[in-house]
């Protein structure tokens, strides 16, 4: 059974459409990454799934049951918990914060304290229990907020940019703890991220959002541009670069360069590809049998290549590489 089933969900703020999602099903036990640039509607979607905001229209079903009225949402909030991008810890101790949701469910103070301490231990935060919640570092606040959300044993945990600002070790620790929690009991996790590496490293499903809508392409290599128009072959400015793109359109548009359409090489290629960019490799992530290589060429480009090619070319972070792609490979929407 799906944990969430979303149908024709719409949300707007100040008359501006913030989210328009026709359909989404999140199966039980899934790890869904919601990816997209800032302002794509990720947080809006998470707050709707957490039932803390009311949609303009459309419906969300939780575990097969439609959540429509305010009373439904109040009940649903007992089973779904959201950790915001910048979590808020209440005044008081860390333990008091983690016990909050249990106390709200009528659990007595002693048992709530014990269960909160256990949740802290699962996040390896036991030593923080007695600390003043206002005296923690950002990374600690983030992990305490996750422990606080997990303490109530929700059926679904929603995380908004859970590793933004965290260092690599902290990111790893958090994802490890979440995986351990999923191994322990049924738990659906939906997390928003503007970093695709997080999504590919950790999620088993992906929803790409762009300007509030599900995007047909994965949202890496997306660039807002102003198309000059005039000819089908246009030269358009993207950051400090000029790219050749085939389109009849004119005016504001979004360019998408699919990562698997980018050829990486150690020397500039003389080929039919109109766009050849030189850059420095800034990140490398494994993606199944493939490698996701992020190249800083004045703009950040993500290329997807086979592990074999990656190894044969001897690519590494800090090294130089050339990215080539045809003008017709660039999608315009």
């Amino acid at each position: 059974m799906a944990t969430f089933e979303v149908t024709a969900l719409r949300q707007q703020f100040g008359g501006r459409a913030a989210l328009s999602l026709d359909a989404l099903a999140v199966r039980e036990g899934a790890r869904l990454a919601v990816v997209g640039p800032n302002g794509a509607g990720k947080s809006t979607l998470l707050r709707l799934l957490a039932f803390v905001d009311t949609p303009l229209s459309g419906s969300i079903a939780l575990e097969g049951r439609p959540v429509a009225s305010a009373a439904d949402r109040r009940q649903a909030r007992q089973r779904v918990t959201l950790v915001e991008q910048r979590p808020y810890l209440f005044r008081g101790t860390v333990l008091g914060n983690v016990a909050y949701g249990l106390r709200a469910r009528g659990v007595n103070a002693v048992e709530a304290g014990e269960r909160a301490a256990a949740a802290l231990a699962r996040l390896r935060l036991r030593e923080l229990a007695g600390r003043d919640a206002r005296a923690l570092s950002d990374g600690e606040i983030q992990r305490v907020a996750v422990a606080r959300a997990l303490a109530v044993e929700p059926v679904a945990l929603l995380l908004d940019e859970p590793v933004s600002g965290a260092d690599r070790a902290a990111q790893h620790a958090l994802f490890e703890a979440l995986a351990a929690e999923q191994a322990r009991r049924p738990l659906t996790i939906v997390f928003a991220s503007h970093l695709l590496e997080d999504a590919y490293r950790w999620a088993d499903d992906l929803l790409a959002l762009h300007q509030g809508r599900a995007s047909p392409v994965t949202p890496e290599n997306l660039f807002r541009v102003d198309l000059p128009g005039g000819a089908p072959m246009q030269t358009v400015n993207v950051g400090p670069l000029a790219l050749d793109v085939m389109t009849d359109r004119q005016g504001p548009a979004t360019l998408a360069i699919p990562p698997d359409e980018i050829v990486l090489s150690t020397e500039a290629l003389h080929s039919s590809a109109r766009n050849v960019l030189r850059g420095r490799i800034v990140r490398v992530a494994e993606h199944g049998a493939a490698m996701r290589v992020t190249l800083d060429a004045g703009i950040e480009l993500v290329a997807l290549i086979t592990r074999k090619s990656f190894e044969e070319m001897g690519l590494a972070v800090g090294g130089t590489a050339f990215a080539s792609f045809k003008s017709v490979a660039i999608r315009v929407f």
Binding site: L82, E84, Y88, F90, Y100, G101, A104, A149, V152
Partner: protein
């Protein structure tokens, strides 16, 4: 008007009693009202807040006059026989302090981080617990409002004089006693009473600073 030490003490105690009673009553009404105004969104809320902010500047003699007309023997509440009693002063001071308690509470609630409400909700708190959590997060700002209201009531003279009548042993407060002593040329007594009032006001201001210091934590 020379006054024995016992009488001065009595005046100080009465002033404190009136100020405390008026503050408690004003806050019992004003904090929930302010919470409602700061928490909910409804048509006309902005107008209400604007009116409330205007009421902050209500001259105390106007309040005194209104309460006088209400409580005067031929007034609508004349039958209560409250004019020239310390309770009448309390009523006037409540009218004075209510807008302060309400406006400052509304501002305190409005200033609470919106994440507090969302966090309480997502952790499964009901409406009451969520409201209580928001109030808890705003408690230093709410307390500061209480202290400001207390300070205002304690130092008020116009309304106290008009509806209390400055009756010796009955409705004479520190401020009305200072007014009388000054008019009678008894500057020694006026200064002594003024020092007591200053000491009380200073205590109030120290309390505010302590609270605000706590609020930063």
């Amino acid at each position: 008007m020379s006054a024995p030490a016992g009488e001065v003490l009595g005046i100080a105690v009465l002033s404190l009693k009136i100020a405390l009673a008026a503050t408690v009553l004003a806050c019992l009404l004003g904090i929930p009202l302010g919470f409602f105004l700061g928490w909910t969104r409804f048509a006309g809320r902005r107008i209400l807040l604007a009116l409330l902010n205007t009421a902050l500047a209500l001259p105390t003699v106007v309040i005194g006059l209104l309460i006088y007309l209400l409580l005067a023997r031929r007034g609508p509440l004349g039958a209560l026989g409250m004019l020239y009693t310390w309770q009448a002063i309390v009523v006037a001071e409540v009218v004075l302090a209510l807008p302060i308690a309400t406006a400052l509470s509304a501002a305190a609630i409005q200033a609470v981080d919106p994440r507090v409400r969302r966090t309480a909700l997502t952790l499964g708190a009901g409406t009451l617990r969520t409201a209580w959590t928001v109030a808890r997060e705003a408690r230093f700002a709410l307390l500061a409002g209480v202290v400001v209201a207390f300070g205002r009531v304690l130092s008020e003279v116009g309304a106290a004089l008009m509806v209390g009548g400055n009756v010796r042993h009955e409705t004479r407060t520190l401020t009305t006693a200072i007014t009388l002593a000054t008019s009678q040329g008894d500057f020694g007594l006026a200064v002594a009473l003024g020092l007591i009032l200053l000491a009380l006001a200073l205590t109030v201001s120290v309390l505010i600073q302590l609270l605000q210091g706590h609020g930063d934590v």
